[in-house]
């Protein structure tokens, strides 16, 4: 604020760069905080043969400066993906900034778990991590400018390609829907069967215990010469 000169302009330039940096960091979107040894799991319910791409970036909390450090080398995140049957599809350690990809081979709930296993951080008691996460599923995972460059598509061809991908996604989801509806129907029919058998069994048990009670008491009273 000390009048005209080159210095205030340079300060403003630095400010602009800082704001640019902030925008760039914020551009990754959603973030959340996790503890050092905490594990966070996300569920993606997807049809089969669907590609899922996850991008994440971590920042560590610096206790002395009370800010999140822009990047921390040596910080690792372990990513584990399990398919609906519990089988591990992907289990890998990535750096502080990473990108994981997997394709589902069975339709259903896939569980993506993230946890940091950096033992170095044990020095900072109560430390926490800021994790920026972005998970794209199916056709959202496609990078259209890249596809256009690779296959040399015109604008119209690229748009048509995008529409085709979307329709394919819708089709896969509908197939999955049919499979799930069948499972739901099986569960409901199983419940129906169980209720039916239970009511029959209950009635039978009730009648049998009633008969047993009466016979037992009758013989008891006859023994006591009360009847």
């Amino acid at each position: 604020m000390a009048g005209v000169g080159a210095r205030p302009l340079r300060a403003m330039g630095r400010q602009a760069l800082l704001l640019l940096a902030l925008c760039a960091t914020g551009a990754q979107g959603l973030y959340f905080h996790i503890g050092e040894t905490e594990k966070r799991c996300f569920i993606e319910e997807i049809p089969d043969e669907t590609m899922v791409i996850g991008n994440y970036r971590t920042q560590m909390w610096d206790k002395q400066k009370e800010v999140f450090l822009p990047s921390t080398p040596g910080l690792g995140m372990h990513v584990e993906v399990k398919d609906p049957d519990g089988k591990v599809v992907l289990s890998r350690q990535y750096g502080s900034e990473g990108r994981f990809t997997f394709t589902s081979h069975t339709p259903g709930d896939h569980q993506i778990c993230l946890h940091s296993n950096s033992t170095r951080m044990a020095l900072f008691a109560g430390g926490k991590l800021r994790v920026h996460l972005d998970i794209q599923v199916g056709e959202h995972a496609n990078n259209y400018p890249e596809i256009a460059a690779k296959d040399k598509l015109t604008e119209l061809q690229l748009r048509a390609r995008q529409l085709l991908d979307q329709v394919e996604q819708i089709q896969k989801e509908q197939d999955y829907q049919r499979y799930r509806e069948e499972r739901f129907r099986l569960t409901s029919e199983s419940t129906n069967q169980r209720v039916l058998w239970w009511s029959i069994a209950q009635t039978v048990i009730l009648i049998l215990t009633g008969i047993w009670q009466m016979r037992h008491l009758k013989s008891f009273f006859e023994a006591k010469k009360l009847v």
């Binding site: 302009l9 604008e155 209950q202 008891f220």
Partner: protein
Amino acid sequence: MPRPGSAQLLALLLLVPGPGGASEITFELPDNAKQCFYEDIAQGTKCTLEFQVITGGHYDVDCRLEDPDGKVLYKEMKKQYDSFTFTASKNGTYKFCFSNEFSTFTHKTVYFDFQVGEDPPLFPSENRVSALTQMESACVSIHEALKSVIDYQTHFRLREAQGRSRAEDLNTRVAYWSVGEALILLVVSIGQVFLLKSFFSDKRTTTTRVGS
């Protein structure tokens, strides 16, 4: 007050709402837990937060959305599903939290979709010089229609997951209850007989004493 230099103007331009995106996440919320998510939003961006509880307990959760100053923009307790649209009034970090603190032992699975601004365009902004041809605008409208189809499909999938979760719950409950009730029935009926027998055993000694 120094005149805003070109650098500052550039900085201000960067904060103008640009292409945003959407984050769709399904996560598990343990009992007595609260999980918060944050996002940096530029002023003037239209955002939508939509959430739905898929499994667990009474399928409800507390949700709270705060602006950078801590002012509560949206707060609902024990909601099963809701959708909230707002326009960011200031730049900064917006925070939204889901809380399951009212539940003692059921953990919940919550889905949320946080849409910030518009979806990024298919092409970099340099190509937006000429107006769209008829084919291109037809493609754009088909794209929008398909996006809404996918959106409906997602909602349907979530509802179906919720219904299926309830049905599977019911199934296990029926199984346990029927076995439990059968056991209780047996125990009570046998117990009744022996209790009755014990009454008559005591009475015999009193009657003999009275007689003598």
